[in-house]
């Protein structure tokens, strides 16, 4: 209750209340996240259940069009799945991969950035060169390579089951240097401040100083890039799926759905690729708008205008 009061009086909440874009993007994102979490409850059909799918329903247009059916509001895809339900499940997969990949990036990147920034010296040089190397390899090449090896090693059948963790690892590992560099830069700024010196004089050991004193002071930029990174990770996943390297069509993400529909766009079934595309664009837009607002709030140069 006390922390709620503190939050209610904070500058964060104050500026949130006064920014219609922030309110809109936050509530839109919340709705999307809640829908995706509650997918089995909200979605009209369970698209993972093969028994509910009838191939005879394939390529039904949206309900308001000629030949549309009341039971499939946004129509069906090429296998006869309800498009709305598939999109809800796809959103869930996309968000899961996006958030998972960002968590992985953040954990690895913060750890590396903190160690190399605070301890410095040879370790710093070594870790940062690894980050440079990692950055210089395009993630698409890594993804093609890994998924090829993976399909060979485990078989295509197992691939469908393990695609989510695999994509999280591929996208997560390709982007961690961004965190490492951000954190390292702010650690370098913080570590020579007097409160760190004071903590050393008090006799606190260096791990505790690193973790308790330096880290919390470097988290603001991390929070800001995290929102943008989630959007980027979702897009990366969509791009991979679009190239056929991502989620299998039995468990489609938004990107995989767009790809599946793309092949039929000229035969008139535009809705299979259109609606997932709109949803993906909307999701990215909302995340980026929220990130934009966060950046403004946390930037002390804009803070007191």
């Amino acid at each position: 209750m006390k922390s709620w009061n503190r939050f209610k009086n904070s500058y964060l909440f104050y500026s949130f209340k006064r920014d219609p874009v922030a309110i809109f993007s936050f509530s839109a994102l919340s709705v999307l996240v809640i829908i995706s979490i509650l997918a089995p409850v909200v979605a009209p059909y369970n698209t993972y259940d093969m028994a509910t799918i009838d191939i005879m329903d394939a390529e039904t247009p949206p309900a308001w069009m000629e030949g549309g059916s009341e039971s499939f509001i946004l129509g069906t895809d090429i296998q006869g799945r309800d498009l709305l339900s598939t999109m809800i499940y796809g959103l869930r997969v996309s968000l899961l991969i996006g958030v998972g990949a960002v968590l992985l990036q953040a954990v690895v990147g913060i750890l590396v950035g903190l160690l190399s920034g605070y301890l410095g010296g040879k370790l710093d040089a070594f870790l940062m060169r690894i980050a440079d190397i990692q950055f210089s390899i395009p993630y698409l090449i890594v993804a093609i390579f890994t998924s090829a090896i993976f399909k060979l090693a485990f078989g295509v059948g197992r691939y469908a089951e393990l695609a989510v963790p695999l994509l999280i690892i591929i996208i997560g590992m390709s982007e961690w240097p961004k965190y490492a560099r951000t954190v390292r830069a702010s650690v370098l700024g913080e570590k020579n401040k007097e409160y760190v010196e004071a903590a050393r004089v008090i006799g606190i050991n260096r791990w505790q100083i690193m973790y308790r004193h330096v880290l919390p002071n470097t988290l603001t930029p991390v929070l800001v890039i995290s929102t943008i990174q989630v959007a980027e990770a979702v897009m990366s996943e969509a791009a991979l799926s679009f190239l056929g390297l991502g989620m299998p069509i039995t468990k489609p993400s938004l990107g995989a759905l767009i790809r599946a529909g793309f092949e039929y766009i000229f035969s008139g079934s535009w809705w299979i690729t259109f609606f997932p595309g709109v949803l993906l664009a909307f999701l990215i837009l909302v995340i980026l708008l929220l990130g934009d607002w966060l950046r403004d709030v946390f930037n002390p140069k804009l803070y007191k205008g």
Partner: protein, 321 residues
């Protein structure tokens, strides 16, 4: 009797690209429990480095190249880091110049104080909290029960320096090193903090080393004083004798430069020239280019710090007999 702190021929060097720079060049002094020592000098004289050398926390590329620091009989500069950390912040505390910077902005005062107690004493969190609250009362913080839950930015400058003093007191240290504790504060707060330090030293029987460039402050509260110039002690002795009857031309210059001495409206006295760069200390007495009584010997020989007169006065000057 054993001294609380004994510094013997301490020498601190900084490694440069090709050679080394001597920041402190063989200084010695002693301090007993309850005694108040002032170290004065211009910026770059090696005052703060002396403070850090005592707790063996000179950051690279600096290092202690010779000499000893004996604290309660233990040789601090030979102690392994683990044991040193048990003394640092526990038996010896340090107070820094700027209270705006020495408190971590993202942690509450409670967190920072409890953490310090837990780092040194084997007590529960609740007990640590009680100790913290008790120390805040000791430094006369109004409504400490409320303040302890606040963040540093919610307190004023004087308040924060009191909190820093309270943190320094948490583990009942035997020695406090105060490195220009009042420079960042305005004059009235300065006097309050100084009174507080003085009062605490008396009641807790602590030794205090006050590092400052402000002779006025030193003459108010300390018993002994050391005047440093370019890494060396040029004059030391009881504060009263040194301030009232300075012998070394540098000390004389410092005292003449105080605003209170000259009639209002006239120009302040100043010592001509600048403190030499440590990479390029003049041969002989380091002060001779700025000295008005220097002679030939001053340019050739380094004057030794020898006992002159009574009241433990030590002086390093060729020209004063």
């Amino acid at each position: 009797m054993r001294h609380l702190l004994e510094v013997k021929d301490l020498e601190v060097k900084f490694a440069l690209w090709s050679d080394e720079l001597t920041a402190i060049d063989g200084i010695s002094f002693t301090l007993d429990r309850g005694e108040l020592l002032g170290i004065v000098g211009e910026s770059g004289a090696g005052k703060s480095v002396t403070g850090f050398a005592i707790i063996n926390l000179i950051s690279k590329p600096g290092f202690i190249s010779a000499g000893q620091v004996l604290f309660e009989g233990q040789e601090l500069n030979r102690l392994p880091e683990e044991e040193m950390r048990a003394i640092r912040g526990n038996r010896i505390s340090m107070i820094f110049q700027d209270p705006m910077m020495t408190l971590n902005p993202v942690l509450t005062i409670r967190t920072q104080m409890v953490e310090t107690v837990l780092a040194h004493e084997n007590v529960s969190k609740a007990e640590a909290f009680d100790i913290a609250l008790d120390k805040l009362k000791k430094v006369h913080i109004p409504s400490p029960e409320k303040r302890i839950h606040q963040y540093p930015h919610e307190c004023s400058g004087g308040m924060r320096q009191r909190i820093v003093v309270a943190i320094a007191l948490l583990t009942n240290p035997a020695l406090i090193i105060a490195d220009e504790p009042t420079t960042a504060l305005d004059v009235t707060i300065q006097a309050e903090i100084m009174d507080l330090l003085l009062e605490l030293c008396e009641s807790e029987k602590m030794g205090l080393i006050l590092i400052t460039h402000d002779l006025a402050v030193v003459s108010q509260i300390t018993e002994k004083v050391i005047v440093m110039y370019a890494g060396k002690i040029v004059e030391s002795g009881s504060t009263q004798t040194v301030v009232e009857d300075p012998k070394h031309p540098y000390t004389q210059g410092l005292i003449k430069a105080l605003p209170g001495i000259i009639p209002p409206g006239s120009r302040l006295n100043q010592i001509p020239g600048m403190m030499p760069n440590l990479t390029d200390i003049p041969a002989g007495c380091a002060f001779h280019p700025r000295c008005n009584i220097s002679g030939n010997t001053c340019q050739m020989e380094v004057p030794a710090l020898i006992s002159k007169g009574q009241h433990d006065r030590m002086l390093a000057c060729h020209m004063i007999k």
